[in-house]
Amino acid sequence: MIPHRRILSKVLFSAVVFLTFSLGNLVKAQDGKALFSQNCASCHAIDKKLTGPALMGVEDRWTNKKNLYSWIRNNQAFLKTGDPYANKLYNEFNKVQMNLFPNLSDAEIGAILKYIKDWKPAAAPGAAGAGGASKAEEGDSTLLFGILTLILAVIAFTLMQVNSNLKKLSDDKEGIPAVEPVPFWRNKAYIAFVTVILFLVGGYLTTKGAIGLGRNKGYQPEQPIFYSHKVHAGINQINCQYCHIGVYQGKQATIPSVNVCMNCHMAINEYKGEKLYREDGEEVNGTAQIQKLYEYAGFTPGQPWDASKAKPIEWTRIHNLPDHVYFNHAQHVNAGKVQCQTCHGEINKMDEVKQFADLSMGWCINCHRSTQVQFKDNGFYSIYEKYHEDLKNGKIDSTKGITVEKIGGTECQKCHY
């Protein structure tokens, strides 16, 4: 009988392990929403135009599904086929090139499109309760599996107890001297089993926690001045570089100095735009915030400004990289032509800036694996003669192109030295 129990516990154990892992996989499966926010959301919304068109009903607008898929993967190549709708779209959006997504599989694109199709506009604030409920529904399947596991575990446990009782009875009957029964909490097999489970769960949580240490995705501290990127970069369309002058030249994008703010705010001393709200819903008086700037600058409207009286503003730093990482904005923005939004999210829609990416190494590497360098446009890469040759005669997939990884962009000493 004892071997049976062992087998049973093994089976049970592997069932739990299997469930744990398959749950993990479920989360990773073709989640259209995740894929959408990862790949599309920085330029597209479903219900309104951003950098790119609103995506609601996109499948209806594209007559040929195949065309849509190849457009999504490589819009530049598709444009060259001369498709009238694609070209119209391209011109309509000021010839802004859409990012290339050569790595998206059909299934993934399908998931994204399904997400767009099924998407319902968020309920009005009054209907917040409904939104909450739908969220709970999302978690349902996990919960279901959990409860099922638990029920199965209890059944298995009961059966085992029954089994052992039956064994005892039959032993009594056959006259085999009864062994002092070991209560299950002192049964080594149970203890070992529970220990292993605890170890696995604890290990998983610890590892996850440790990996997450120092990562602050979503960090949104309150700043000394309620500076709204939405008002400046979004509504008023001020170029990022006007204030972040270092972004093209050096390592740091640089936070503008007071005199840069004052270039405009000497004249603009009231806020007349839409009402501003903090994240918690508190209304913000824009004009009062401009006054705060004047305090730092030592400026009184109507009087000449003495720049030497200005005091620096102590902003709270949001994006922090560890000291052993070398990151250079110029490399990405100037040489690599990467959009600010790729890493910083829809900054032009944020009133208060929030950390968009987790800035983890995996996140960097993934991007380096899929992003192409400016291989043809930048003269620096002319020295990679072999790659140019291979591109020409098709040895290298031109849709994949020359990625950052291909020229060594995932090597240690590109960022750590």
């Binding site: 440790a210 240490l213 120092g214 602050n216 960090y219 501290p221 002058i245 270092g246 030249q249 050096g250 390592k251 740091q252 640089t254 936070i255 503008p256 100095s257 007071v258 005199n259 840069v260 730092y296 720049a307 030497s308 200005a310 005091k311 620096p312 503003i313 102590e314 902003w315 709270t316 730093r317 922090n320 000291d323 052993h324 070398y326 250079n328 110029a330 490399q331 100037n334 040489a335 446009d377 930048n378 003269g379 620096f380 890469y381 002319s382 020295i383 990679y384 072999k386 790659y387 020229i407 060594g408 090597e411 240690c412 000493q413 590109k414 750590h416 030295y417």
Partner: protein, 1036 residues
């Protein structure tokens, strides 16, 4: 090529200890309390280990669960137009240390100067630097700098100070005691001060003076000046003890010129010949083609003999070897009249007069000796200062202003200076540190560091170099010129004065701006070499004086300057203290240099006896000796250095400084200046009669000589170095290449070796492939590169106790190899850094992949992955990987946790002020990780980005345009190091390898590690060798 090369005596004799040491890189036992009882009963058993593990995990968890600290990002209030945070700016300024002035560029990152580079616009140094120039940036952040003005040791404000001083001195006469002033505007300031204080005078005093030359030139050329030397015009150079590549007069300039004669064109191999006479092994002597040893007292006799021989007379020298040497030198010189040069390091007027006569006989005047421009760098006449000391003692000096000079430390009769200072009513010191002289001054108003100063310098007449501040003054210090102006009643400050002085000369504001930006003002056309009228009347008397000079006793003493420490002005600089001396390879101390022969008789150490050689060499304790000269004694440890005359001992000056000038000088050596003497008008740095006796004690010296030794089962040391004589090279230019071909023939030969000599796969090398070439023929071993590497890469200082434990951290070391005669060997220097092997043995033994290869050929080291197994270091055939045994640079977030592990010097490097020198682009390594040369990867990345921004290919030396230069390459005064993209047909590295195909070799090439660093073989300009080779061939 069967010549034996050796770094240490143990290696020469292949002793037991050497064999032992060559086996292991890390020679000490692991720090476990090992005993016989087994692991469980050991002092730290398994359970304790588990406890510690548990505790630290818990502690880490608690620490980590704390909130993420809030960091601030504070921009400028008003951003200056030219400053972009994170982008370095370079400002041209001038390194001025006493008389020495070198045009440099200071790299300023976010308001702090962090690195010094040479200024290529200077026609003097042409962008070269020295170890001391490179290290000077650390002096700026020295914690021992004086931080405010004091009167009687109490802090006062500048106003109170000015008031007190003007009350004390009024308009009375003062003596301004300075080291040589090379600044023309400062001279003007001094004149103004003297005009306002009638009866005042300036006395110039140089610690290591060139009075002998100045006076000799006055006697023979009628000018108290030192002409320019043109080593580049000389085909034969004879030096009588002048260390012109290391410490003599203008070493950076001379090294640049000298290297020109040492560059070899393979199609027409020719090079200059350098014959050296010296008493104690020096850097220059080690670079000479031929070297002859003599007693210091024989310098004059050799000069006279040389003159006689050139004039066709008999050579009257008893020592046969020396006589042959003089005759040989004379023959070579006489055969190259007009293209020959003789220089002499003696401070004796008579000797220098005879040397002038020799140069005149060689028609050097106007060719290799150029009077069109003279040096302003050393103007002091020792007799002037001797008179001042007498005046002070006589009580006739009421006010003494001291700037730069530090006679209490450097004057041979220090007691007399101290006594004299006590009799001076008002003593004012401008020195930046509380040095020996400043300690005795009533008023102290520290000067800025040169990186904080405005100013100008004229190292040679007609060549100007400007200073501009690169950082706001760190402390309450003031430029001494400002003080002088103030005390002369001037209303302008020195900056206005300086601008006023220059603006008309350089053409107004725009001209001034341009000059500041360039950093130098050069003559419109560089003047052609010019001669001066020679007056031979003094020569005969000088020769007679030499003949009647006192003969030496049994043992003679030669005081010398070390390349790193010089006269001792920068002695508190830890980079310089830890820099292994190029010759002795010792750090942190001075010592008595004795020859192997003297060691036998005096210390009873026979280096040919294996046991004794080991006992001497492997253990840091060295036998102490007591040296007595003129009744003054000094007790120092001894080092046995081949290439030293058997009857001569050498001691370096510049050590034994007061502890107030910095932690780095505490316990480092003894002051040797008191052993000098005043000989007529000049200080003599030799003593003809010295007594030396062993005291029986020992003293530990941190010598890196036996560190980083390597021997592999596959390769003997002979393959590390390749050397030829010039005649041999002319006769058989392809020998090295043929040797390599022969050796690699079983593995595919030279061309196919990479692919066929291995079972590993071949990897493509697209785009960039970095490579470096080091020319052993032009490398002089001056160690500027080593300090440059320190500054660029945040290489830590580990302190003397750690160096003694083999823990030195230099990413780049300069191996010194001897060959030939033990008493007077030939020397070759080989800079050794990570060779960035394409098939690197370190990479495949790393269990965590912390070191691996990049597609650009870099052997990458990832500190955050490294777990410190040190397998890589053990498996490195070049022994260039360094392990952080402690937290040397304060990388740890827990302050002071190394307090008892490291000594005060290293703790001082952890100070917030000192840490300002760190390069923010380079990670500060923490304890327990390996580090090594990265080919300055931060510079490579920056250079590539620059090219990408401009959308063009990377330039590495095409038309002398550079996007990237490694720190060592940039610092090198002789351009021995070339670096760049070896895939680029037009890059300097490709061209260098192509043009020097015959001399190119790779160290330990046969191991198939495929280094990306190649060396160019040393060629020695001697006749011997060709015949021997021929014979050998005939035999074979």
């Amino acid at each position: 090529m069967d010549k034996k090369y050796w770094q240490s005596f143990g290696e020469l004799n292949n002793t037991e200890a050497f064999q032992q040491s060559a086996k292991d890189e890390f020679r000490e036992e692991l720090p476990f309390e090992a005993d016989d009882k087994g692991l469980l009963e050991a002092k730290t058993p398994r359970r304790d280990f588990l406890k510690y593990l548990g505790f630290s995990t818990a502690a880490a968890a608690v620490a980590a669960s704390c909130e993420v600290p809030v960091k601030k990002a504070i921009p400028f209030a008003n951003k200056p137009e030219d400053i972009v945070p994170g982008v370095a700016n370079y400002y041209a300024t001038t390194y001025v240390q006493d008389g020495e002035a070198v045009s440099v560029l200071a790299k300023v990152r976010d308001g702090r100067p962090i690195k010094i580079e040479g200024n290529e616009l200077s026609p003097i140094t042409k962008g070269g630097t020295s170890a001391r120039v490179q290290a000077s940036v650390l002096d700026l952040y020295d914690t021992a700098r004086l931080r405010f003005p004091t009167i009687d040791g109490k802090e006062v404000t500048f106003d109170a100070f000015d008031k007190a001083v003007s009350e004390a001195i009024g308009s009375g006469p003062a003596v301004i005691l300075t080291s040589t002033i090379v600044s023309p505007s400062t001279k003007e300031v001094i004149n103004q001060f003297i005009a306002k204080h009638p009866g005042s005078r300036q006395v110039t005093y140089d610690a290591v003076s060139y009075s002998g030359m100045l006076l000799a030139n006055e006697a023979t050329y009628g000018k108290r000046a030192i002409p320019s030397y043109r080593f580049d015009n000389a085909k034969v150079i004879v030096s009588l003890g002048a260390d012109f590549l290391g410490t003599w007069l203008s070493p950076i300039e001379f090294a640049k010129q000298y290297s020109k004669g040492k560059k070899i064109d393979e199609k027409k191999p020719e090079m200059s010949k350098h014959i050296h006479f010296e008493s104690v092994a020096s850097l220059t002597g080690s670079n000479a083609d031929e070297k002859f040893l003599h007693r210091p007292s024989e310098t004059g006799a050799i000069a006279v003999a040389l003159l006689n021989a050139i004039n066709g007379q008999a050579v009257n020298i008893s020592d046969a070897k020396l006589k042959a040497g003089v005759e040989k030198a004379a023959k070579a010189l006489a055969a190259n009249k007009g293209e020959a040069l003789v220089v002499c390091g003696s401070n004796d007027v008579n000797v220098q007069i005879v040397v002038n006569a020799i140069n005149e006989a060689l028609q050097a005047n106007g060719k290799t000796i150029d009077w069109s421009s003279t040096y302003n760098s050393f103007q002091g006449i020792d007799a002037d200062f001797a008179k001042l000391v007498d005046d002070m003692n006589a009580g006739s000096v009421s006010t003494l202003l001291v700037y730069g000079a530090n006679p209490v430390y450097t004057w041979y009769d220090s007691k007399k200076v101290v006594d004299g200072l006590k009799k001076v009513k008002n003593t004012i010191s401008f020195n930046a540190k509380n040095d020996e002289t400043t300690q005795l001054c009533k008023y102290v108003i520290p000067d800025h560091h040169y990186l904080e100063s405005w100013g100008d310098a004229e190292p040679k007449t007609g060549y100007y170099s400007l200073l501009q501040p690169t950082i706001y003054p760190l402390f309450k210090t003031r430029q001494w010129q400002d003080s002088l102006l103030k005390w002369s009643g001037a209303t302008t400050d020195y900056l206005a004065f300086l601008k006023g002085y220059w603006s008309t000369k350089v053409g107004g504001e725009t001209g001034w701006d341009k000059a500041l930006q360039d950093g130098v003002i050069n003559p419109a056309t560089l003047p052609a070499a010019a001669g001066a009228t020679f007056n031979s009347s003094a020569v005969a008397t000088a020769a007679n004086n030499i003949a009647s000079a006192k003969k030496g006793g049994k043992i003679e003493l030669q005081l010398y300057q070390k390349v790193a420490i010089g006269g001792g002005q920068q002695a508190s600089n830890p980079w310089l203290q830890e820099l292994p001396d190029p010759i002795t390879r010792a750090t942190w101390d001075n010592y008595v240099i004795i020859s192997p022969a003297l060691a036998r008789t005096l210390l009873n150490i026979d280096l040919n006896d294996n046991g004794q050689a080991d006992a001497y060499e492997v253990n840091p304790p060295k036998k102490m000796v007591k040296v007595t000269v003129n009744g003054k004694s000094i007790v120092l440890p001894s080092l046995i250095i081949p290439g030293t005359h058997p009857d001569t001992i050498g001691i370096a000056v510049g050590y034994g400084r007061a502890k107030e000038i910095g932690k780095a000088v505490e316990g480092t050596g003894q002051n040797a200046y008191p052993l000098a003497s005043l000989n007529g008008n000049v200080v003599s740095f030799t003593a003809a009669d010295a007594q030396i006796e062993a005291t029986g004690d020992t003293y530990k010296i941190a010598v890196t000589q036996t560190h980083g030794g390597y021997d592999t089962k596959q390769g003997k040391r002979t393959e590390v170095m390749k050397e030829l004589t010039l005649s041999h090279f002319q006769a058989e230019p392809a020998e090295i290449r043929e040797d390599r071909e022969k050796e690699l023939a079983p593995f595919g030969g030279l061309e196919k070796f990479e692919k066929e000599g291995t079972i590993y796969p071949y990897y493509e090398k697209p785009g960039i492939h970095w490579g470096m070439s080091v020319d052993l023929n032009t490398c002089t071993g001056c160690a500027a590169c080593v300090v440059a590497c320190h500054a660029e890469n945040n290489v830590p200082v580990v302190g003397k106790p750690e160096v003694m434990r083999f823990h030195d951290m230099h990413w780049l070391r300069i191996d010194r190899y001897y060959s030939g005669d033990v008493d007077n060997p030939n020397v070759v220097f080989q800079p050794m850094m990570c060779q960035h092997c394409d098939n690197a043995p370190c990479e495949n033994v790393c269990p965590v992949g912390a070191t691996n290869h990049s597609s650009e050929g870099l052997n990458q080291m990832t500190y955050n992955r490294c777990i410190g197994t040190r397998y890589c270091a053990n498996n490195c055939p070049y022994k260039v990987r360094r392990f952080n045994w402690a937290d040397y640079t304060g990388a740890d977030s827990f302050p002071d946790n190394q307090r008892d592990v490291l000594n005060d010097v290293v703790m001082n490097m952890n100070d917030d002020l000192t840490r300002m020198v760190l390069n923010p682009d380079v990670t500060v390594r923490s304890r327990g990780v390996i580090e090594k040369c990265s080919f300055c990867v931060q510079r490579l990345q920056e250079g590539k980005l620059k090219a990408k921004k401009e959308s063009r290919p990377l330039k590495s030396g095409e038309n002398n345009e550079w996007d990237v230069k490694t720190a060592c390459q940039q610092a090198c005064p002789t351009d021995a190091i070339v670096f760049g993209n070896a895939n680029d047909k037009h890059s300097a590295i490709t061209i260098t390898r192509e043009e020097n195909k015959l001399r190119t070799f790779f160290s330990l090439e046969q191991l198939h590690v495929l280094p990306n660093v190649n060396y160019l073989a040393k060629v020695r300009n001697i006749e011997e060798g060709a015949e021997a080779k021929k014979e050998e061939k005939e035999h074979a």
